[in-house]
Subunit: 220 residues, 2 copies
Protein backbone atom coordinates (compact mmCIF):
# COMPACT_ATOMS: atom_id res chain seq x y z
CA UNK A 1 0.00 0.00 0.00
CA UNK A 2 3.00 2.25 -0.59
CA UNK A 3 1.06 4.36 -3.09
CA UNK A 4 -1.57 5.51 -0.61
CA UNK A 5 -2.00 9.20 -0.07
CA UNK A 6 -3.07 9.88 3.50
CA UNK A 7 -3.92 13.35 4.76
CA UNK A 8 -5.22 14.13 8.23
CA UNK A 9 -7.11 17.36 8.81
CA UNK A 10 -5.73 17.93 12.24
CA UNK A 11 -5.70 20.17 15.30
CA UNK A 12 -2.83 19.89 17.75
CA UNK A 13 -4.88 19.92 20.98
CA UNK A 14 -7.75 17.72 19.81
CA UNK A 15 -8.04 14.48 21.79
CA UNK A 16 -10.03 13.10 18.87
CA UNK A 17 -7.25 13.83 16.38
CA UNK A 18 -4.81 12.22 18.83
CA UNK A 19 -6.79 8.97 18.53
CA UNK A 20 -6.29 8.84 14.77
CA UNK A 21 -2.59 9.69 15.02
CA UNK A 22 -2.05 6.93 17.59
CA UNK A 23 -3.89 4.38 15.42
CA UNK A 24 -1.81 5.28 12.36
CA UNK A 25 1.40 5.12 14.41
CA UNK A 26 0.42 1.68 15.72
CA UNK A 27 -0.02 0.51 12.13
CA UNK A 28 3.23 2.17 11.03
CA UNK A 29 1.43 4.16 8.35
CA UNK A 30 2.84 7.55 7.30
CA UNK A 31 0.49 10.47 6.76
CA UNK A 32 0.54 14.19 6.18
CA UNK A 33 -0.96 16.32 8.96
CA UNK A 34 -2.67 19.51 7.80
CA UNK A 35 -3.35 21.86 10.69
CA UNK A 36 -6.79 23.43 10.70
CA UNK A 37 -7.31 26.91 12.12
CA UNK A 38 -10.52 26.20 14.01
CA UNK A 39 -10.79 29.68 15.49
CA UNK A 40 -10.06 31.93 12.53
CA UNK A 41 -11.62 29.96 9.71
CA UNK A 42 -11.81 26.32 8.68
CA UNK A 43 -10.36 25.26 5.33
CA UNK A 44 -12.54 24.72 2.28
CA UNK A 45 -11.26 21.16 2.28
CA UNK A 46 -12.60 20.56 5.80
CA UNK A 47 -16.01 22.04 4.97
CA UNK A 48 -16.20 19.95 1.80
CA UNK A 49 -14.93 16.74 3.43
CA UNK A 50 -17.15 16.86 6.49
CA UNK A 51 -20.24 18.87 5.48
CA UNK A 52 -22.34 17.34 8.28
CA UNK A 53 -20.23 18.52 11.20
CA UNK A 54 -17.31 20.51 9.74
CA UNK A 55 -15.11 19.04 12.48
CA UNK A 56 -11.66 17.52 12.73
CA UNK A 57 -10.36 14.88 12.48
CA UNK A 58 -10.99 14.01 8.86
CA UNK A 59 -8.85 11.32 7.27
CA UNK A 60 -8.50 11.68 3.51
CA UNK A 61 -7.40 8.38 2.02
CA UNK A 62 -6.57 8.80 -1.66
CA UNK A 63 -8.97 11.75 -1.65
CA UNK A 64 -11.90 9.93 0.00
CA UNK A 65 -12.90 11.29 3.38
CA UNK A 66 -13.59 9.36 6.55
CA UNK A 67 -15.11 11.26 9.50
CA UNK A 68 -15.67 10.79 13.23
CA UNK A 69 -12.61 9.66 15.17
CA UNK A 70 -13.89 6.31 16.47
CA UNK A 71 -15.07 5.42 12.96
CA UNK A 72 -11.72 6.52 11.49
CA UNK A 73 -9.83 4.30 13.95
CA UNK A 74 -12.09 1.40 12.96
CA UNK A 75 -11.42 2.19 9.29
CA UNK A 76 -7.66 2.30 9.89
CA UNK A 77 -7.90 -1.08 11.61
CA UNK A 78 -9.80 -2.63 8.70
CA UNK A 79 -7.55 -1.10 6.04
CA UNK A 80 -4.16 -1.99 7.53
CA UNK A 81 -4.41 -5.41 9.10
CA UNK A 82 -1.45 -5.52 11.47
CA UNK A 83 -1.36 -5.16 14.42
CA UNK A 84 -5.09 -5.76 14.88
CA UNK A 85 -6.74 -3.17 17.11
CA UNK A 86 -10.20 -4.74 17.36
CA UNK A 87 -10.56 -8.35 18.54
CA UNK A 88 -10.99 -10.98 15.81
CA UNK A 89 -14.33 -12.45 16.94
CA UNK A 90 -17.74 -10.83 16.58
CA UNK A 91 -18.37 -10.96 20.32
CA UNK A 92 -15.06 -9.28 21.15
CA UNK A 93 -15.80 -6.60 18.55
CA UNK A 94 -19.23 -5.98 20.07
CA UNK A 95 -17.70 -5.62 23.54
CA UNK A 96 -15.07 -3.19 22.27
CA UNK A 97 -17.71 -1.16 20.40
CA UNK A 98 -19.90 -1.04 23.49
CA UNK A 99 -17.11 0.56 25.56
CA UNK A 100 -16.05 2.80 22.69
CA UNK A 101 -19.63 4.05 22.54
CA UNK A 102 -19.76 4.52 26.32
CA UNK A 103 -16.53 6.53 26.22
CA UNK A 104 -17.79 8.63 23.29
CA UNK A 105 -21.06 9.38 25.06
CA UNK A 106 -19.60 10.22 28.45
CA UNK A 107 -15.95 11.15 28.94
CA UNK A 108 -15.34 14.33 26.92
CA UNK A 109 -18.64 15.90 27.89
CA UNK A 110 -18.13 15.16 31.57
CA UNK A 111 -14.61 16.57 31.39
CA UNK A 112 -15.86 19.72 29.65
CA UNK A 113 -18.38 20.22 32.45
CA UNK A 114 -15.43 20.44 34.84
CA UNK A 115 -13.55 23.24 33.08
CA UNK A 116 -16.76 25.06 32.18
CA UNK A 117 -18.04 25.36 35.76
CA UNK A 118 -17.32 26.79 39.20
CA UNK A 119 -18.57 26.39 42.75
CA UNK A 120 -21.30 23.83 43.41
CA UNK A 121 -21.74 23.04 39.73
CA UNK A 122 -18.06 22.10 39.61
CA UNK A 123 -18.50 19.70 42.52
CA UNK A 124 -21.35 17.95 40.70
CA UNK A 125 -19.28 17.79 37.50
CA UNK A 126 -16.29 16.28 39.34
CA UNK A 127 -18.47 13.65 40.96
CA UNK A 128 -19.97 12.64 37.63
CA UNK A 129 -16.60 12.54 35.92
CA UNK A 130 -15.06 10.37 38.64
CA UNK A 131 -18.06 8.04 38.52
CA UNK A 132 -17.47 7.51 34.79
CA UNK A 133 -13.76 6.85 35.39
CA UNK A 134 -14.72 4.35 38.10
CA UNK A 135 -17.03 2.53 35.66
CA UNK A 136 -14.17 2.33 33.17
CA UNK A 137 -11.74 1.18 35.86
CA UNK A 138 -14.20 -1.51 36.81
CA UNK A 139 -14.40 -2.68 33.18
CA UNK A 140 -10.59 -2.70 32.96
CA UNK A 141 -10.43 -4.87 36.07
CA UNK A 142 -7.12 -6.74 36.29
CA UNK A 143 -6.55 -6.79 32.54
CA UNK A 144 -3.43 -5.10 31.12
CA UNK A 145 -5.53 -3.28 28.51
CA UNK A 146 -9.25 -2.94 27.83
CA UNK A 147 -9.18 -5.69 25.21
CA UNK A 148 -6.95 -7.99 27.28
CA UNK A 149 -3.22 -8.52 26.77
CA UNK A 150 -2.61 -6.03 23.96
CA UNK A 151 -3.13 -2.32 23.40
CA UNK A 152 -6.17 -1.95 21.16
CA UNK A 153 -9.23 -0.05 19.97
CA UNK A 154 -10.72 0.98 23.32
CA UNK A 155 -7.33 1.95 24.73
CA UNK A 156 -6.67 4.23 21.76
CA UNK A 157 -10.05 5.97 22.00
CA UNK A 158 -9.69 6.49 25.73
CA UNK A 159 -6.02 7.51 25.92
CA UNK A 160 -6.68 10.23 23.35
CA UNK A 161 -9.15 11.78 25.79
CA UNK A 162 -6.81 11.25 28.76
CA UNK A 163 -4.53 13.91 27.23
CA UNK A 164 -6.94 16.45 28.73
CA UNK A 165 -7.26 14.82 32.17
CA UNK A 166 -4.33 16.72 33.69
CA UNK A 167 -6.10 20.00 32.85
CA UNK A 168 -9.40 18.71 34.30
CA UNK A 169 -7.54 17.81 37.48
CA UNK A 170 -5.90 21.22 37.75
CA UNK A 171 -9.09 23.19 37.10
CA UNK A 172 -11.09 20.88 39.38
CA UNK A 173 -8.48 20.40 42.14
CA UNK A 174 -8.63 16.63 42.24
CA UNK A 175 -6.57 13.61 41.24
CA UNK A 176 -7.95 10.67 39.27
CA UNK A 177 -5.16 8.61 40.83
CA UNK A 178 -6.58 9.11 44.35
CA UNK A 179 -9.96 7.69 43.33
CA UNK A 180 -9.04 5.21 40.61
CA UNK A 181 -5.42 4.08 41.01
CA UNK A 182 -5.76 1.15 38.60
CA UNK A 183 -7.13 3.44 35.91
CA UNK A 184 -4.27 5.87 36.52
CA UNK A 185 -1.73 3.05 36.25
CA UNK A 186 -3.25 1.97 32.93
CA UNK A 187 -3.08 5.56 31.66
CA UNK A 188 0.57 5.97 32.71
CA UNK A 189 1.50 2.74 30.96
CA UNK A 190 -0.27 3.84 27.74
CA UNK A 191 1.28 7.32 27.83
CA UNK A 192 4.76 5.76 27.83
CA UNK A 193 4.01 3.87 24.63
CA UNK A 194 5.87 5.31 21.64
CA UNK A 195 2.78 5.64 19.44
CA UNK A 196 1.10 7.63 22.20
CA UNK A 197 4.03 9.63 23.60
CA UNK A 198 4.95 10.98 20.14
CA UNK A 199 1.46 12.19 19.45
CA UNK A 200 -0.26 13.29 22.62
CA UNK A 201 -0.25 17.08 23.20
CA UNK A 202 1.83 18.40 26.10
CA UNK A 203 -0.13 18.68 29.34
CA UNK A 204 0.96 22.29 30.02
CA UNK A 205 -0.06 23.40 26.53
CA UNK A 206 -3.45 21.74 26.86
CA UNK A 207 -3.89 23.48 30.22
CA UNK A 208 -3.11 26.86 28.62
CA UNK A 209 -5.41 26.10 25.71
CA UNK A 210 -8.32 25.29 28.03
CA UNK A 211 -7.52 28.37 30.15
CA UNK A 212 -7.91 30.41 26.96
CA UNK A 213 -11.27 28.77 26.25
CA UNK A 214 -12.35 29.48 29.82
CA UNK A 215 -11.57 33.15 29.25
CA UNK A 216 -13.45 33.11 25.93
CA UNK A 217 -16.44 31.60 27.76
CA UNK A 218 -16.27 34.14 30.59
CA UNK A 219 -15.39 31.55 33.24
CA UNK A 220 -12.13 33.19 34.30
CA UNK B 1 -25.34 -22.76 13.83
CA UNK B 2 -28.49 -24.77 14.61
CA UNK B 3 -27.48 -25.19 18.23
CA UNK B 4 -27.45 -21.48 19.01
CA UNK B 5 -29.66 -20.22 21.78
CA UNK B 6 -30.83 -16.69 21.05
CA UNK B 7 -32.89 -14.68 23.49
CA UNK B 8 -33.92 -11.06 22.96
CA UNK B 9 -34.87 -8.97 25.98
CA UNK B 10 -37.59 -7.07 24.21
CA UNK B 11 -40.23 -4.38 24.47
CA UNK B 12 -43.01 -4.29 21.88
CA UNK B 13 -42.97 -0.52 21.22
CA UNK B 14 -39.20 0.01 21.26
CA UNK B 15 -37.85 1.23 17.91
CA UNK B 16 -34.45 -0.01 19.07
CA UNK B 17 -35.74 -3.55 19.68
CA UNK B 18 -37.40 -3.40 16.24
CA UNK B 19 -33.95 -2.91 14.67
CA UNK B 20 -32.65 -6.14 16.16
CA UNK B 21 -35.78 -8.10 15.18
CA UNK B 22 -35.52 -6.85 11.58
CA UNK B 23 -31.82 -7.80 11.40
CA UNK B 24 -32.51 -11.30 12.73
CA UNK B 25 -35.43 -11.70 10.28
CA UNK B 26 -33.19 -10.62 7.38
CA UNK B 27 -30.72 -13.30 8.40
CA UNK B 28 -33.47 -15.90 8.87
CA UNK B 29 -32.37 -16.57 12.43
CA UNK B 30 -34.94 -17.74 14.97
CA UNK B 31 -34.93 -16.27 18.48
CA UNK B 32 -37.00 -16.17 21.63
CA UNK B 33 -38.45 -12.78 22.56
CA UNK B 34 -38.76 -12.15 26.30
CA UNK B 35 -40.94 -9.15 27.02
CA UNK B 36 -39.58 -6.77 29.65
CA UNK B 37 -41.95 -4.83 31.89
CA UNK B 38 -40.13 -1.50 31.77
CA UNK B 39 -42.69 0.35 33.87
CA UNK B 40 -43.33 -2.07 36.72
CA UNK B 41 -39.93 -3.61 37.17
CA UNK B 42 -37.15 -4.83 34.94
CA UNK B 43 -36.09 -8.46 35.11
CA UNK B 44 -33.03 -9.59 37.04
CA UNK B 45 -31.72 -10.91 33.74
CA UNK B 46 -31.90 -7.45 32.16
CA UNK B 47 -30.16 -5.79 35.12
CA UNK B 48 -27.45 -8.45 35.07
CA UNK B 49 -27.03 -8.44 31.28
CA UNK B 50 -26.84 -4.69 30.84
CA UNK B 51 -25.56 -3.28 34.15
CA UNK B 52 -24.37 -0.05 32.50
CA UNK B 53 -27.73 1.12 31.15
CA UNK B 54 -30.33 -1.53 32.19
CA UNK B 55 -32.02 -0.95 28.83
CA UNK B 56 -33.54 -3.12 26.12
CA UNK B 57 -32.68 -4.49 23.63
CA UNK B 58 -30.23 -7.06 24.95
CA UNK B 59 -29.36 -10.01 22.73
CA UNK B 60 -28.28 -13.08 24.67
CA UNK B 61 -26.39 -15.42 22.38
CA UNK B 62 -25.68 -18.71 24.12
CA UNK B 63 -25.89 -16.78 27.38
CA UNK B 64 -23.47 -14.00 26.38
CA UNK B 65 -25.02 -10.55 26.24
CA UNK B 66 -24.67 -7.96 23.51
CA UNK B 67 -26.03 -4.45 24.20
CA UNK B 68 -26.91 -1.28 22.29
CA UNK B 69 -29.07 -1.84 19.22
CA UNK B 70 -26.72 -0.55 16.53
CA UNK B 71 -23.92 -2.67 18.01
CA UNK B 72 -26.24 -5.69 18.18
CA UNK B 73 -27.16 -5.30 14.49
CA UNK B 74 -23.46 -5.13 13.65
CA UNK B 75 -22.88 -8.26 15.75
CA UNK B 76 -25.73 -10.08 14.00
CA UNK B 77 -24.21 -9.12 10.65
CA UNK B 78 -20.78 -10.43 11.62
CA UNK B 79 -22.14 -13.64 13.15
CA UNK B 80 -24.49 -14.71 10.34
CA UNK B 81 -22.87 -13.86 7.05
CA UNK B 82 -25.78 -13.86 4.59
CA UNK B 83 -27.29 -11.58 3.44
CA UNK B 84 -24.57 -9.02 4.29
CA UNK B 85 -25.97 -5.88 5.92
CA UNK B 86 -22.78 -3.80 6.02
CA UNK B 87 -20.81 -3.21 2.80
CA UNK B 88 -17.80 -5.49 2.23
CA UNK B 89 -15.11 -2.79 1.94
CA UNK B 90 -13.65 -0.71 4.78
CA UNK B 91 -14.69 2.55 3.15
CA UNK B 92 -18.31 1.42 2.69
CA UNK B 93 -18.36 0.27 6.32
CA UNK B 94 -17.05 3.65 7.49
CA UNK B 95 -19.73 5.47 5.48
CA UNK B 96 -22.47 3.23 6.90
CA UNK B 97 -21.17 3.71 10.44
CA UNK B 98 -21.05 7.47 9.97
CA UNK B 99 -24.75 7.60 9.06
CA UNK B 100 -25.65 5.07 11.72
CA UNK B 101 -23.96 7.32 14.25
CA UNK B 102 -25.70 10.43 12.87
CA UNK B 103 -29.06 8.67 13.15
CA UNK B 104 -28.30 7.48 16.68
CA UNK B 105 -27.29 10.96 17.78
CA UNK B 106 -30.18 12.83 16.20
CA UNK B 107 -33.41 11.12 15.19
CA UNK B 108 -34.93 9.66 18.35
CA UNK B 109 -34.07 12.67 20.48
CA UNK B 110 -35.48 15.11 17.92
CA UNK B 111 -38.66 13.02 17.65
CA UNK B 112 -39.01 12.92 21.43
CA UNK B 113 -38.78 16.71 21.54
CA UNK B 114 -41.89 16.79 19.34
CA UNK B 115 -44.12 14.70 21.58
CA UNK B 116 -42.72 16.25 24.75
CA UNK B 117 -43.51 19.83 23.79
CA UNK B 118 -46.29 22.27 22.96
CA UNK B 119 -46.63 25.75 21.47
CA UNK B 120 -43.52 27.54 20.31
CA UNK B 121 -41.24 24.85 21.65
CA UNK B 122 -43.09 22.37 19.43
CA UNK B 123 -42.50 24.50 16.37
CA UNK B 124 -38.77 24.58 17.06
CA UNK B 125 -38.76 20.81 17.61
CA UNK B 126 -40.59 20.17 14.32
CA UNK B 127 -38.19 22.36 12.40
CA UNK B 128 -35.18 20.55 13.86
CA UNK B 129 -36.70 17.16 13.19
CA UNK B 130 -37.51 17.98 9.56
CA UNK B 131 -34.01 19.37 9.05
CA UNK B 132 -32.56 16.03 10.19
CA UNK B 133 -34.89 14.13 7.86
CA UNK B 134 -33.82 16.43 5.01
CA UNK B 135 -30.16 15.68 5.73
CA UNK B 136 -30.95 11.98 5.58
CA UNK B 137 -32.98 12.39 2.40
CA UNK B 138 -30.05 14.23 0.88
CA UNK B 139 -27.72 11.36 1.78
CA UNK B 140 -30.19 8.85 0.31
CA UNK B 141 -30.26 10.82 -2.96
CA UNK B 142 -31.43 8.67 -5.84
CA UNK B 143 -30.25 5.43 -4.34
CA UNK B 144 -32.78 2.66 -3.63
CA UNK B 145 -31.40 2.21 -0.10
CA UNK B 146 -28.84 4.01 2.01
CA UNK B 147 -26.14 1.50 1.11
CA UNK B 148 -27.08 1.39 -2.58
CA UNK B 149 -29.06 -1.37 -4.27
CA UNK B 150 -29.82 -3.54 -1.27
CA UNK B 151 -31.53 -3.09 2.10
CA UNK B 152 -28.79 -2.89 4.71
CA UNK B 153 -27.39 -1.66 8.00
CA UNK B 154 -28.38 2.01 7.83
CA UNK B 155 -31.86 1.17 6.50
CA UNK B 156 -32.46 -1.18 9.42
CA UNK B 157 -31.35 1.33 12.05
CA UNK B 158 -33.45 4.09 10.54
CA UNK B 159 -36.62 2.15 9.69
CA UNK B 160 -36.82 0.95 13.30
CA UNK B 161 -37.08 4.60 14.36
CA UNK B 162 -39.56 5.39 11.57
CA UNK B 163 -42.09 3.22 13.41
CA UNK B 164 -42.65 6.24 15.68
CA UNK B 165 -42.85 8.86 12.89
CA UNK B 166 -46.63 8.52 12.44
CA UNK B 167 -47.09 9.47 16.09
CA UNK B 168 -44.68 12.41 15.78
CA UNK B 169 -46.68 13.61 12.78
CA UNK B 170 -50.00 13.34 14.62
CA UNK B 171 -48.78 15.09 17.78
CA UNK B 172 -46.95 17.71 15.73
CA UNK B 173 -49.55 18.19 12.96
CA UNK B 174 -47.17 17.79 10.04
CA UNK B 175 -46.31 15.30 7.34
CA UNK B 176 -42.78 14.16 6.56
CA UNK B 177 -44.03 13.35 3.05
CA UNK B 178 -44.81 17.01 2.35
CA UNK B 179 -41.25 18.07 3.14
CA UNK B 180 -39.23 15.04 2.14
CA UNK B 181 -41.13 12.95 -0.43
CA UNK B 182 -38.12 10.84 -1.40
CA UNK B 183 -37.49 9.95 2.21
CA UNK B 184 -41.18 9.04 2.63
CA UNK B 185 -41.05 6.83 -0.48
CA UNK B 186 -37.99 5.04 0.90
CA UNK B 187 -39.79 4.51 4.23
CA UNK B 188 -42.93 3.13 2.54
CA UNK B 189 -40.87 0.71 0.50
CA UNK B 190 -39.02 -0.52 3.59
CA UNK B 191 -42.22 -0.87 5.64
CA UNK B 192 -43.62 -3.25 3.00
CA UNK B 193 -40.64 -5.55 3.36
CA UNK B 194 -41.55 -8.79 5.14
CA UNK B 195 -38.76 -8.57 7.72
CA UNK B 196 -39.97 -5.09 8.65
CA UNK B 197 -43.76 -5.48 8.34
CA UNK B 198 -43.77 -8.53 10.63
CA UNK B 199 -41.86 -6.75 13.36
CA UNK B 200 -42.71 -3.07 13.40
CA UNK B 201 -45.26 -2.04 16.05
CA UNK B 202 -48.68 -0.87 14.82
CA UNK B 203 -48.86 2.90 14.31
CA UNK B 204 -52.07 3.30 16.35
CA UNK B 205 -50.65 1.39 19.28
CA UNK B 206 -47.46 3.47 19.23
CA UNK B 207 -49.62 6.59 19.16
CA UNK B 208 -51.55 5.40 22.23
CA UNK B 209 -48.34 4.43 23.97
CA UNK B 210 -46.83 7.89 23.44
CA UNK B 211 -50.14 9.51 24.47
CA UNK B 212 -49.81 7.59 27.75
CA UNK B 213 -46.25 8.85 28.19
CA UNK B 214 -47.42 12.39 27.50
CA UNK B 215 -49.96 12.03 30.29
CA UNK B 216 -47.30 10.59 32.61
CA UNK B 217 -45.11 13.61 31.80
CA UNK B 218 -47.96 16.09 32.34
CA UNK B 219 -48.06 17.22 28.71
CA UNK B 220 -51.72 16.30 28.13
Amino acid sequence: MGEDELVLLDFWASPFCARVKIALAEKGVAFESRAEDLFNGKSELLLKSNPTYAKVPVLLHNGKSVNESSIIVSYVDETWASPALLPPCAYGKAQARFWADYIDKKVFEAGSSIWRSRGEELEVAKKEFLEIVRTLENELGDKAYFGGESFGYVDILLIGLVSWFDAYERFGSFKVEDESPKFAAWAKKCLLRESVANVIPEADKVYEFIAMMRKMNGIE
